[in-house]
Structures are given as C-alpha cells and as structure tokens.
Symmetry: C2
C-alpha cells in the first residue's frame, strides 16, 4: 500500500525523482488512527518524514509508523537504498548523518514511471493528501496547480505546505516556519499542522491553496532579479527594492489569476520569508548573479551545466511561462519586473535593465 | 528665513545634529511658486537636497533654488562648512564627492539649540512639512510620532518619507524606492512625490502616516533579532523566519496602537523593503551579531562604543520602549519576538532565546 504520485510533477526538484513529495494520511478502521505515508524520499522528503515521525509518536490519532516511499536505487556499495535506510535509520544518499526516527519505515518502489496513473482509482476517497512540491507549470491559460492535479488524478482532497524551508537546515533542527494552504476544511488543515509542527518548525494554516502554491513558484522569478542585482553589485538597498517589487508582482499576479487569493498570505512564511531565503541563498539567485557578472554573454543553460551539477533552474522556465501568460492576457505593462526578468534571461535586454523599467 | 526643528528629535541620526531632516515648502505670492528648504544637512539630508534640486529645475510650480539649512561647523581647514558647500557644491563633510546641484544653497545656522521653540509661531501656516526622521520615542502611553510633534510645535501639516534608503547608495544613483505617508490631503502627498521622485528613486504615497513612521522605528528591533541569528550562525532560513515574525509584530503592534494603520503599508518600501535592507546591513544588525557571538557577555554599550565611533544604536532603546508599552498594556504574550529581543539586550535571556519563544 504505497499510493504515490510523481511523473506529472515538474518542479525545482524534478531532476531528483526522490524529491517530489506528497504526504497522505488514511484512516484505518476500526481503530480510527490515521496512517501516514510520505511519497518521495529525497532531501526534503526525508526531512518531512523525520518531522512527522517525531509527532506520530506523540499524537494519539496517528499510527506511530510513518511509511516513506523510496524509489529503489542500488548504492555504490551494491546495497539497496531502501534496505540501508531501514538498517541505519538514515537516508544515506539524500540526507546523510540524520536519524529519521525508528518509526520511519522505507517502502521500496520498483516502477519509476506512471505512478500517478497506476494508483489512480486504487486509493480510498477518504485519503487526505498534502503536496510539498514547489514549482508548478504556468501554462498560457493559467497555472497548472499541483494540488489540483493531485485532486483530479487521485480523486482526493489536497492541501499544500510551503515556506522558507531549506531541508538541510531543518534537518539539524534550526528554527524555521511553514505555511499550510487549504481549500475549505479547517479541521483537516489543523490535522496537517499538528503532524508537521515542532518547536523548531512552526506551521500555520491559511485558507488559500492557490496563493500558497503560487508563492512557491513565483519567488524563483524574483530570485533571478535579486541575483542580477547581486551580479551588478548594486547593494542591499536596490536588492531590497527589487525584492519588494517582486513580492508586489507575485501578489498582483496571483490575485489576477485567482480572485480567492488573499493579501495576507504574502505575509506568511510561504510569502515574504520564502522570498527572503530564496533571494539570499538559492540556486536561482546564484546563477543569475553569474549571468549578470558575465554581462549576459554566457547563457543560463551554460551556467546551469557548470554550476548546478545536473540540477535545473526553475526560475528561468517559470519566467518564460509567466511571460507567456502576461503577453497572452495583455498584462505585460502591469508586471514590469516579471517581464524584464524574462527578457534579460533570453538576451533581449541587458542585466542592467532590471532597475530601468518605469514605475507601474 | 530658515525654519527648522531639531532638539526634540531622537533618532538613529541623533548623534549627528546635521541629520535630523525635515523639508518644508512655502508658497510665495504673487508668483505662486513653492520654495523648498531642507532642514538638516547630514548624509541623508544632503542626498535629499540633491534629489529635490534635480526636480525643482524641472517643475514649474517650484522655485529652482533649494535652501539647505546647515548647522555651522568649522572644518579642520578653518573654513566654514556652509561656505565650502556653496563654493564647491559638495557637502565635503557629510557627503563628499557628490555634487548637490548648483541650485542648492547652504544657509548657515549659528544656534544649535532650541530651534523648534525658536521658530515656533514664526512660520506661516500654509507651510507644508515632511519628516525624513526615522526613530521616534515610544513612550508608555504610546509612540511619540515625530510628524505629530512637528504639527504640534510648528502648527503645520506634516507628511513623512521613509523606505529602504541608504543615503550613500542613493547619492550614486543606485535604484531605490521610498514611501510618503500622508494624513488626508492626497494632493499634498503627490506634490511631495513629484519633488522626490526620480528614475532611480521611485516614490509612492500611502494614506497612513502612523504606519509609515512606525515602520521606520520598529524595524530596528527586528534588525537586532536578525543580528542575533547571524551571530549564532543559524542560517538564512532561520533569519527569514525571524524577519517575517518581526514584520508580523511590527504590523500587529502598529495596528493595536493606531486603528488607522493599514496592512498594505507593510508591503511598501517603508515596510518590507526597509526591513530587508536593515536586516542585511545596518548597525543594529551588526552590533547584535557581535553581541550574540560573545554570548551576551559584552554589553551593547561596550560594543557600540567599540564598533560605532560615537553613533548610538536606535534598536536597543526602541526595544526597551516597546517592552514598556507591552508590559504596561498586558500585551507581552502577543509579541514574543519584541519581548525576547529586549530581554536578550538586558541580559535576562541568552541570545539563543531568539528562536525559542512559543508560537503566538
């Protein structure tokens, strides 16, 4: 019993099959305890399993055991990843050195494709899901929300959890926060909060799935802008201004696409805090800095290949997708930062243009 | 004719008599052009004069000439500061290397005390003022708004201009933004926007004097918290979380004190952007970092003396003042970050407590 979801999910983590994380809970009758399965076992998925496992031990209405669904890999030692996780209680490949908790059990999966379709229709309708996947596709007709895809394909309700969440920092129990976005059912959102919340990982819930999920995607476009400012050595003042304008455009864009999106969501961890983290560190910022330092003469593809060891930049493709929406809907002038970022990425404008658009 | 205001004004800049900046405009009949006087000629005051002077040349309803009111000082060369400014068109002491514009005229002032009282009642009621002073006192009964003090003592309407404004970066025309806060009269706010706005200094107006002014003060408390996180080497994730919680408390505190304060103000340059700048650079952050690195064993007084060359930290005294308000009103539990910052500053709690308060 390892319901899962994966191949449709684009994302920052898409180059790592183990890091498209959904977590599902399913009530078991007659004892009326929920069983938790973490689908995905990369860096962030493993940290999520650790957080959850520390709570299921304490919460009466959850089974202690947390199943972590692991794409089977053979390690250089010849051992299977799932077996090593179960022997050592560590994800030696994606989160080495961190004990997950004895109640985390790795469940191997042998098929690498079509999981969503495979399990579609085979899981019970009372299953609840939460997506931790940042980075959706933004199609011309609008964003392709991952929570909606999950609901559509698996027939289950789906919340999202986003925020300023650098997995390795949370793994060593550094203080952090996160935001759960939910549609209607506050009780279910609070169940997720209880499942994730720890003294060092403070979770709060907001009734705004779309806003929370869009924050996780659009921030990468702003991070490119912040990286350009870094590369041009314009200083903290300019960087702060660009981040603020970026946050304003994230909010305005989300609200134009979904009238249900709330301003207050952008004050949550998924909004301003994730934006700050991403604009201070993060691979989008880093590559954009290098891009600007080179005056735009080396392409993002080249810089990615050199700097990211096979990982892909979400921001560049999101900027392109957002640009297509803006262009299609006649909104380009309303979003000068988003538009300019894309035009810099494709070489139509020099990196210095990031501070040259006129006031909107 | 150099109306001015100074001795009541505490602030980050209070150790430098030249940097308590107010700008006033006065209509001159019959030609119906406003005359602009910058009261204060420190680092930020000089940059403000430069910005304004570039605009008065272009705007028909302002006199070209911008008077900059200079506390007279004798330079090491034996020359008087105001005379050197008028000869060289540079504030050689507080903004060396930057031409202010030929239409900036330094007007010397010889008395260093009691200016507010001295000019009170002597300026016309149709004068309009704007305060650029960040850092008010927060008394037990509530904050002592500088714009209100100016209105009270000088009998004139007073707006405020705040934002992520590092004077030296704006002086070299690096891109930045600012926020004008106004009470009721949108037209006057727009006049100030026109007077300050340039392609590299984008100004917008919001009808929320109290919110804008409180941002400029409270951010320094959050910057101490961010500095503690830096000193403890907790990483960007934790820092972003602390900045977000700080922004939330700034908003909640301002709204409890003034029901007129708007949420949207905190998305403006005076809010999130100034907070980011202050938490990335800035003396409050820097001293707090050193404080935490020393495990709280060296006092802020000692660190200030060593690190700031005579300048004072606004954040430490603001944190104390805010704590007194919280304590007096029974709000301590509502503001765990503000309360904890003060308790760390006075040595009641260790710096590590910054991430240990419980969820509010």
């Amino acid at each position: 019993m390892a319901p899962a979801y994966e191949p449709l999910l684009a994302g920052e983590t898409s180059s790592n099959n183990n890091d498209s994380n959904i977590i599902i809970t399913q009530d078991e009758v007659p004892i009326n305890k929920s069983r938790v399965t973490v689908v995905g076992s990369g860096n962030w998925g493993s940290v999520a399993a650790k957080l959850i496992a520390s709570n299921t031990l304490k919460l009466a209405n959850f089974h202690d055991e947390v199943r972590m669904w692991v794409y089977e890999e053979v390690l250089p030692s010849g051992d299977k990843l799932s077996e090593v996780i179960n022997q050592t209680n560590e994800n030696v490949k994606y989160l080495p050195g961190i004990k997950l908790g004895n109640n985390v059990v790795a469940v191997p999966d042998l098929e690498h494709a079509g999981i969503c379709k495979r399990i579609s229709g085979k899981i019970r309708e009372d299953v609840e899901a939460i997506s931790l996947i940042k980075g959706m596709e933004v199609k011309r007709e609008g964003p392709c929300m991952i929570s909606s895809l999950i609901t559509e394909h698996l027939g289950v309700n789906c919340c999202v959890l986003m925020g300023a969440n650098i997995a390795n920092e949370i793994a060593v129990e550094k203080f952090s926060e996160a935001t759960v976005g939910y549609k209607e059912n506050r009780e279910i959102a609070e169940k997720w909060v209880r499942l994730f919340n720890t003294p060092y990982f403070m979770v709060s819930a907001v009734q705004d799935v779309a806003g929370v999920e869009l924050c996780g995607t659009l921030k990468n476009v702003v991070a490119l802008a912040a990286g350009f400012v870094d590369g041009l050595e314009m200083g903290n003042n300019t960087k702060a201004a660009i981040m603020r304008i970026g946050l304003r455009e994230m909010k305005a864009f989300s609200k134009l696409l979904f009238s249900s999106v709330k301003d207050s969501t952008f004050f949550e961890s998924c909004g301003v805090a994730d934006l700050i983290t991403t604009c201070l560190g993060g691979r989008n910022r880093k590559c954009a800095e290098a891009f600007a330092r080179n005056g735009g003469k080396r392409s993002f593809d080249e810089l990615e290949a050199e700097m990211l060891q096979g990982q892909k930049l979400q921001g560049v493709s999101t900027a392109k997708e957002v640009y297509e929406v803006l262009s299609h809907r006649g909104w380009l002038e309303l979003f000068p930062l988003f538009a300019t970022v894309h035009e810099i990425c494709i070489g139509s404008l020099p990196p210095t243009s990031i501070v040259e658009y006129s006031q909107s």
